[in-house]
C-alpha cells in the first residue's frame, strides 16, 4: 500500500466489476484529442488499407456505407481515467474490410485526417474486436467525437480508437504512433493498467 493521505476518505462510487483498475464512471462523453477537430468533407473522404507489399485497398464514403454494418454496444476506457459503459455504435467490422487483403504483417499503424497516428498489433483489429464506426447513439458520428468515421477498438484505451480515421498501414515492424511516441504505452490494455510506457 502506498503512502496514506491523512483525512482522505474517498467517494467510492461503487466497485463496478466492469470498471478496469483506476477508472471512474462518467455519463458524459469526454472528448480528448491533441489538436483541433478536423473537418472532412464526405465527397473527399476515403479509407485505405496499405499492405506491407504495397497494395492499396480503397473505399470512398458511399462504398463504406454500402458494406454490411454491425451495431456493437461496448464499454470504453479513456487513459485519463474516464470510462463509459454501454456505448452504442454502428460501423463496419474490420473483418469485412480485411476480407480481400493479403497480408502477413503483424502490426498496424492507423492514421487519421489531421495527422494523428496510433499503432497496434493487427490481431487486435480482427476477429470481431474492431470497427470503423460512423454512427454513435443513433446519430451520425459528430466531428468532435471522430466523425465522419473513427476506429473503434474498445478493448484498448480509447486513444487507440483513432478519430477521423483515414487508413491503416500494415507493417512488419511495430512503429509507435502519436501518443506512443510521447510516452504512452505501446499496447494500452486498460485491464492491466498499461497507461504509460513501462507499465
Amino acid at each position: 500500500m502506498g503512502i496514506i493521505s491523512r483525512g482522505f476518505q474517498g467517494r467510492r462510487r461503487g466497485d463496478d466489476e466492469r470498471l478496469p483498475p483506476g477508472q471512474y464512471l462518467t455519463e458524459d462523453f469526454p472528448v480528448l484529442s491533441a489538436g483541433p477537430t478536423p473537418r472532412v468533407p464526405l465527397d473527399r473522404w476515403e479509407f485505405t488499407i496499405d499492405t506491407e507489399g504495397g497494395q492499396v485497398h480503397r473505399w470512398n464514403w458511399q462504398e463504406l456505407r454500402a458494406l454490411p454494418s454491425e451495431t456493437p454496444t461496448v464499454d470504453i476506457h479513456c487513459v485519463t481515467t474516464w470510462s463509459k459503459l454501454d456505448t452504442r455504435w454502428q460501423g463496419v467490422s474490420l473483418d469485412v474490410l480485411f476480407e480481400d487483403v493479403e497480408t502477413a504483417a503483424e502490426y498496424a499503424l492507423v492514421h487519421s485526417y489531421g495527422g494523428y497516428t496510433t499503432n497496434l498489433p493487427l490481431e487486435d483489429l480482427l476477429d470481431g474486436k474492431a470497427w470503423i464506426a460512423y454512427r454513435y447513439d443513433g446519430e451520425e458520428l459528430e466531428p468532435r467525437h471522430g466523425g465522419p468515421a473513427r476506429l473503434l477498438v474498445p478493448h484498448l484505451y480509447f486513444w487507440k480508437s483513432a478519430k477521423w480515421v483515414r487508413g491503416i498501414r500494415l507493417l512488419n515492424e511495430d512503429w509507435p504512433g502519436f501518443w506512443e511516441t510521447a510516452g504512452y504505452h505501446d499496447y494500452g490494455d486498460p485491464w492491466r493498467e498499461q497507461r504509460y510506457e513501462g507499465d
Binding site: M1, I4, S5, Y24, V31, A34, T81, Y196
Partner: protein
Amino acid sequence: MARLTWRPARLVKVREETASARTLVFDVPGWPGHLPGQHVDVRLTADDGYTARRSYSLAGPDGVELTVQRVDDGEVSPYLTEVMRPGDELEVRGPVGGWFVWRPANPAPVLLVAGGAGVVPLMAMLRARRASRSATPFRLVYSVRSPEQLYYADELAAPDPGVDVSVVYTRTAPDGEARPAGRLTAADLGPSGEADCYVCGPTGFVEAAAGLLLELGHDPARVRTERFGPTGE
C-alpha cells in the same frame, strides 16, 4: 523511457488563488524535472487502502506546484483544496505528456488560450519564459466567469515585457471593463499573426476556442490542446 514510479510528495506550502482554488507546493525527493505544459498523476490513498487518482498540470517550471480548482461534488479536488494541510502526503508520478509542452529554445511567437483552470499549464509556460529570460513574444487570452475567479491575478497584472495578457469575462466583468461579459469570440483572439497556439481548459471551451483559431486562419498543426474534463465552463 524509464518506468514512471509513484513518489511520495509532502505538502509544504499553500497559496489561496480564489475562494475555490488553491496552489499546493510539494516537496518531491528525486523529482526528475519537467517541461512547462506537462502534468502529474496524483494518487490519494485512504487508511484502508482505497485509492483515487487524477491528473494535475504542473504550474511552474521547477518543482511540483499544482493549482487545483474545487469541483463541489468531486472526490479528489475537495480534498486537495480543503482538507490537505502542510505536512500531509500524497503520491505523484510523472512528468506526463510530451506534446502539450513549450520549449524555451523555440523562437516562434506563442498564443496561449486558457479557460478557467486551464490557465495552469499555460502559466507554467509563461513562468518558464521568464525564468529562461526568453524574448519570445507571448500572448495570453484568459477566459474566466468573473474577476473573483482569476488565478495568479497579481502576477498576471505585473508588467512582463513581451507578454500581453487579456482577460475575457464570460459572466461578470469588473467595473470599467470595456468589453461586455460574454463568451470568447474570434475578436478576442485576433488579430494575431502566426503563432504556436496552446489551448487548455474544460472540453467545451477547448473545442470552441480551437475552432475560433482555425477560423482565424491558424495552422491546425500548430494548435495544441489539452482538455481537463468533460463538463463545465
